[in-house]
Structures are given as C-alpha cells and as structure tokens.
C-alpha cells in the first residue's frame, strides 16, 4: 500500500486523469454503448448510475480489458488507453471489484490475495511467510485487523468476502479502483465500514469508480455522478449541486410516478400463515421465531445479514429441515417435507438468487414461467405449447414484462425483467401466500417501482406476502408492519406509524427503540 502513487490531489481538473470520449461498442447488431463520454479526476469518487442495461457494466468491462471497444477514445494520464486483456488493464493500475465474487473458496485468504502474484523464494518455491505477511498488510490497510489470513475464504461471510476482494484489488498498485455494486450484499453496518475504507483509499490518492443502485450511498460518498441511459452518458454532475430526485429523473428520462409516500393501509383478512417457534438449523439458540401473516397483508422482515432472515423463509417453504416449531396454514397445522408440499399448500417463494435458484437462464421465458405450474399447461404429461405461450404472454402483459418473444431465453432479459419472470412463475399458480427474498436486488429504479406496484396489487387481491429485504426504504414502502430480526430472534415489530430507518436499525442492532416500545 505504501508503495502506491504519492497522493496527488486533483489540483488541475482541466486535465482529467482518465477521459472517455464518444465510446461505442456493439455486440453483433446490438448497441451496448452508443456514445459514452466522461472523465475521472485523480483522487475523486465518481459514481456511475443508470438502469440495468444502460451500459455501465459494458463500460467497466472495456476499462478493465475484458472487451475491446469499437470506436471512440480513451486516454489514461494523457496516453491513449486500449487494454488488450484484464492483465494488461491491471498493469495500468485499473482494478475491478466485481459484483459476483471471484474468490477461490477453498484457498486461504492469504492465497486469494496473492493469487495474481505469488511470492516465491529460492528454487521458485512458494514463500508462504511472505504471502501471509503481504495479506496481513493488505487486510490491515482496510481495517480488517481481526481476521486471520490463514483461514479459508469459505469460512467468511459474504460481507467479509467482499472486503477481501477489495483488499486484493488494492494490494496490487491501483490507480483506479472500480467497485461494481459493492453494497448489494452488505448490511448497513458493513456498508458503512466499506465507505470508511473508500474514504481511506481516496485519501491515498486512488480514484474510485462506484457503481450503485442506491442513490443514498452515491450521495453519501461520491464527489461526482455520471448518469447512463440506453448506452449513452446523459450528464456528469457535482454531487453537491445535485439532488437524488434529479438523478433519478435523468436515469429514467421521465418523472417517477410511484413515490414512497403511498401510505394506504388496506383491509386484511384471516390469518393465512402462522409460524410458531420455528427453529431453523442455522439458529444456534433455543428461541424460535413466531409470526402471523394475514391474507392481504404485507409483512416485512428486516435485519442484518446473518440474522436468519432467509433461513426463516427456507424453513417455511420446506427447503431446509427445521429443528422445531410448527407451521399453520389457514388454521391447520401443516408439515412440509419439501417445496412440493409448500407449493401444494398455496405458497410461493421468490428466491434471493435469480441465477442459481430462480431461473433456468438458457431456457425460454415461457418455459420458465410455467415451471411451477406445468400441470396447467399440460394434459396427461403432454405439454400444450400453444396454451403455454398464451399464458406466458398474458403473464408478461400483466407484469409489463419487456421482452421480444416468449421463446427467447430468459438470459436475454435485463435484471428487472428476469425478476418479473420469477414473479410470473409463481403468480401462474395463483398462490395465497408469497414469500419473497430480496425481491428487487440488482433491479433498476424503474422496474423496482413496477415490482412494488405488482406486490401491492397482489395484497389488494388478498395474497399474503412475507418480504425479506436489506433495503429499509423498500420495506417501509411495501410493508404494513415490519418484523426486525437480530440473531435469529424477532427483536421487535414496527407498525407503519413507527417506520423509520432509525427504529429498524436500533432493533436490528439488538436495541429497543423508545418509539417502538409498544408493538402493534
């Protein structure tokens, strides 16, 4: 770290450190970038925002040497820059911390950090001591002094893995560090730690490019923001002269219809799902989780990563065996031996991870939508393809899905539309209870609002929804009440009147906020 470039504050903004001019990139006939221009000044934190598919990821891949570009100019510190490979880009001091992790699970933290440049001793043998020393130094530099570098990466939580990736990126000499949605999997506390680290990196003179769907984060740590739309850059603004609303408007190119002020409460019906003292296998304690969910109600579950939120949903849905506790559906005790039983009982589960659990990416949209309701598009085992197509089109229209043909592979859709396909898959069954885990992760602002509207409509139709989310504004927008988990226990419950990020956070950190002393 110490060997990195001497800090040179951006004294002369007229000569940008990196400048991109009229960059274009095509994939076959598809325009991915259609005229991208922006610049980076040395030592700034620069945000790139825009809906999914707006071109941010493509730009990052070009800067980091994954793709070549077709036309336009990039110059780095005054020289033309055309990286031939990721290795070459790293040689120029451009490092990317990807949204998806690139760590080798079974190797130690130290091995992961040194993987690109293993220190060797005499005879070319691995110098383990030096490797561990470097890793120690890299972790210390970002404040992870409490982590042992000789433990395997697989023993780390998701947040720490992210930080190890950052440590690895910084360990090589970075001039530009690109963070691609670094907070997607982090809780608020971990995000704050990351921001402290970013502040430190910036102070060392490294330029940070920050890609995020969270505008509050952008406004918290960035100096400037560049907005992308449809493969073009719309504008670059100083954060100090911009408002979040202004940025959103630039992103979507229209005024956002759905505000967060929708405070309607709707009538709720009978208890659709009751869980008593559910003890998941991940829960080390003896106190289980109990909750009630009424028809037409949206209940949010908040909590830090590791508080056991996903585990509750997986337990209810019969994916993971539960140690103890009972589940009642419409007043009757039920026992699910697998997702099959839960589905038969009218429950659906929109999982957190679209790629691994929700979708069959290479298969058509229609096939994905019918995956949980194959009986209704088949007769004695024979698929009725015409009826499947028809239902897929209806489902797509209902959710305002943007797609070419129902026979296109789901992988051709943007993140928001993929998420709609996951929703459509469950809606095709007409579930009475819908469990949702991070329903808008990696989804752009416009599609997010649409998904919120869909979920609220479902509640109005009498579906009971249980929503796990790391985004507090999301829960406060959607939920009628929020249960806050801390260490696998329900630490408290908040009614709409008590909704505030402060109250949620206090409960999530195991405290009891004054305002939420009386739960509803």
């Amino acid at each position: 770290m110490a060997a990195r470039l001497a800090a040179a504050p951006a004294a002369a903004p007229e000569t940008p450190f990196l400048s991109v001019l009229g960059l274009k990139k095509y994939f076959g006939g598809v325009k991915a970038l259609d005229g991208v221009s922006f610049s980076l000044e040395e030592g700034e934190v620069h945000a790139l925002v825009g809906e999914n598919g707006a071109g941010k990821s493509t730009l990052i891949k070009i800067l980091s040497g994954v793709f070549p570009y077709d036309s336009g100019e990039i110059s780095l510190a005054g020289d033309a820059y055309r990286p031939s490979s990721p290795h070459n880009a790293k040689g120029h001091g451009i490092q990317v911390v990807h949204q998806e992790f690139n760590l080798l699970d079974h190797l130690t933290i130290a091995e992961n950090i040194s993987i690109e440049d293993m220190p060797t001793g005499r005879f070319g043998l691995l110098d383990r001591k030096e490797m561990n020393r470097r890793a120690r130094q890299a972790l210390d530099a970002i404040g992870l002094t409490d982590i042992n570098v000789t433990q395997p990466v697989s023993s780390l939580g998701i947040a720490h893995r992210q930080l190890v990736e950052i440590a690895r990126a910084l360990q090589s000499k970075s001039r530009i560090l690109i963070l691609d949605e670094p907070t997607a999997t982090l809780t608020e506390r971990e995000t704050k730690r990351l921001f402290d680290i970013v502040g430190g990196i910036k102070a060392d003179g490294v330029t940070v490019v920050f890609v995020s769907h969270h505008l509050d984060e952008v406004f918290a740590i960035c100096d400037r923001v560049t907005v992308f739309r449809n493969g073009k850059t719309i504008a670059t603004d100083l954060i100090s002269e911009m408002t979040p609303e202004g940025v959103v408007q630039r992103m979507v190119g229209r005024k956002l219809a759905e505000g967060l002020e929708d405070q309607e409460t709707h009538a709720t019906g009978e208890t659709a799902l009751r869980v008593e003292n559910l003890l998941t296998q991940a829960n080390p304690g003896e106190t289980g989780v109990s909750l009630d969910l009424k028809a037409g109600e949206i209940v949010g579950i908040a909590g830090l990563v590791g508080a056991g939120r996903t585990e509750i949903l997986r337990g209810i849905f019969g994916i993971d065996p539960v140690r103890a506790g009972t589940i009642h559906r419409n007043g009757k005790e039920v026992r699910f031996n697998g997702p099959k039983d839960a589905i038969a009982a009218g429950i659906g589960f929109v999982t957190e991870d679209r790629k691994d659990e929700g979708l069959i990416l290479d298969m058509p949209i229609a096939a994905n939508m019918s995956l949980a309701s194959l009986k209704s598009v088949s007769k004695s085992g024979l698929l009725q393809l015409a009826s499947e197509t028809k239902r897929a089109r209806e489902g797509g229209a209902k959710l305002k899905l943007k797609y070419g043909k129902t026979s296109d592979a789901v992988s051709s859709l943007s993140g928001g539309n993929q998420q709609k396909v996951v929703l459509a898959k469950w809606l095709a069954r007409g579930p009475q209870v819908l469990l949702l885990d991070e329903p808008t992760r990696g989804v752009d602002v416009g599609a997010k609002a649409e998904i919120y509207a869909i979920l609220k409509d479902l509640a109005r139709e009498g579906v009971a929804l249980l929503v796990v989310s790391s985004e507090m504004p999301e829960l406060m927008t959607l939920a009628d009440r929020i249960l806050v988990l801390a260490e696998h226990r329900i630490q408290g419950e908040l009614g709409r009147a008590d909704f505030s990020e402060e109250n949620i956070l206090k409960l999530a950190y195991g405290q009891t906020p004054e305002a939420a002393g009386d739960t509803q």
Partner: protein
Amino acid sequence: MTTDTLQEAAPPVSKFSVRTVLHNAGIGLALLALILFFSVFTEHFLTPNNITNILTQITINLILAVGMTFVILIGGIDLSVGSVMAFAAVVAGKAITLPGFGPAEAIALAIVAATLTGVLCGFLNGAISAYWALPSFIITLGMLNIARGAALQVSEAQTIYSFPFAFEEFGSAMIYGVPVVFLVALVLVFIAWFVLNFTVFGRLIYGIGNNEEAVRLAGHSVSRYKIAAFTICGLTAGIAAIVYMARLNISSPIAGIGFELNAIAAVIIGGTSLSGGRGSVIGTLLGAFIIGVLANGLILIGLSDFMRQMITGVVIIVAVILDYYRAKYAST
C-alpha cells in the same frame, strides 16, 4: 406487428428448436461431407449392400446412445451400458433356452428378461446416485464391474447359443434393404425426441440439466426424474441386448466391452453438452451415423482399423471444440 405475431405463434421451445436445428444442420453437413467424400474416393461405399451394412453396424450403438442422451442431458453419465447389455443378453439367453417353451413364448420371455435386467440395473444406478447425491460417473463405474461379473457368473463364462429360428429371422430381416433392427432403433429415436420435446418429463430433464435447484424449488422431485433418466438408459441397454442376440444368435458374457464409450461419443458428437441441459436426440442420431460412416468408409478406403480408431478419437475432440465455440457464440 404481423410478423411478430406470427413468430409468437410458434411453440415456446422454438428457439431451442431453431438453435437445435441450426446446430444439427452443422452436424448433418459434416455427415453429408463424409458421405460425399467416401462416395467419391471408394467404389463400394454408396452401394445398397454397404448401406445396409452401415445401418446394421450402427444399430446397437444408436440404441445405447438414445438412453445415454437422457442421462447426459441431466448432467450425468452412464459407464455401465456395455456391461449391462451383456448381462441382460446372458439373462435373456438363459431364458430363451429354457426347456419346455415354444419359440414364441421363449422369445417373449427373453425380451421381458432382457428389458427387466436393463431396467433394474439402470434404476439402481439412478437411485443410488440420486439418493446419496453421488457422482454417477463412479456409481456406474461400479455397475460396469457388477454387471460384467454377473454376466460371467450367470453364464458360467460360457457363450449361450441355439436360439429359436424366428429370433434369428428377426435379427436379419430387411424391409427394402433396411434392417428391421435399425428401424427399431429409429422408432426409439422418435419416441425419445417426442418425449424430450413435448412432455412435461422432457421439459424437466432439460430443466434439471440447466439448473437443478430452480427445478427443485419449483416443487418438482428432482431425484425421481434423475432415477427415470438412468432407468431409461438401462432399458435401452436391455433392448440393445435383444438386438445383439438376434443379430449374432449368441449371448456372450464378454459382449459390449467399450460400447459405453461409443455411445457417449455419439451423444457428444451429436452436440449434447456433457454438463447437461443442452442437446438433442436428433443430434445423437447424426452422431451415431458419423461414427458408423467413418468406421465403414475408412476401412473401405484401405486404412487399418487402428487408423480408424485414431481418426474417430480426433473427431470426438473436434466435436467438443466446435461445441465450445457454439456455446461461446450463443452466449454473446
């Protein structure tokens, strides 16, 4: 708008099919090129006799490869089919030579015995690897030895012969120069094609090969489908055993050594991905033809059997390399 609607009216698997068709066209073209090459450079390749020969030669491999396609589509592999075929043939051979049955009963008994043996072995392969979530590679490697040993044990290492005449007739029967046993194989290809493309079962076979977890969370019993795929593979080994017996009029406990590798080769040359989820049984049909045409043509051209083996190996590697580029092209 009208064109859009027209395209929309196509069944939702159409993209799959369009891609499969294009990609089968590639394999088909390769096959055509081979046929052209051998027709030009050898006198006897394109004679009715030789064509009948080729069809007869590829029949058993094609039957085994049809079952293998199901297993590979779910991301598995079955190394035991050659041994299972021998085992089924020996059991059926014992059954068909039992004293006290008329020819019709004896043949029926043999058919039942062979298919049941195959189904049982396939079921065990599937059930064991699904229940304990173990790699099918190693389970079927075990079955390869078990079935071979069982074949030798049951037959006391003796070749069984003197089958009813009607059985022999079936093995060598022709319709317009096309061996009846090959038609049997073609019917199996058609059934498999239909099942894979137009049934819930087939849809889930592809689904499991692509993303097992998503299929499980959608409420389907993944292990049941896995067991079914292996059972189908065992069934085709049993059917191959019957064809083998009818063709050669013997049941040998050392039949079918290495047949599993030829069946896998046909599936892979046919463009089915070894990691599962992508491919088609039509590709398998073409793959089996490519292997058969190569084997026949290269001998006619005057190459030794050793050279033929080397060239078949090269073709397998080239097919997989082509598949790599196809996958890469498809993903961008």
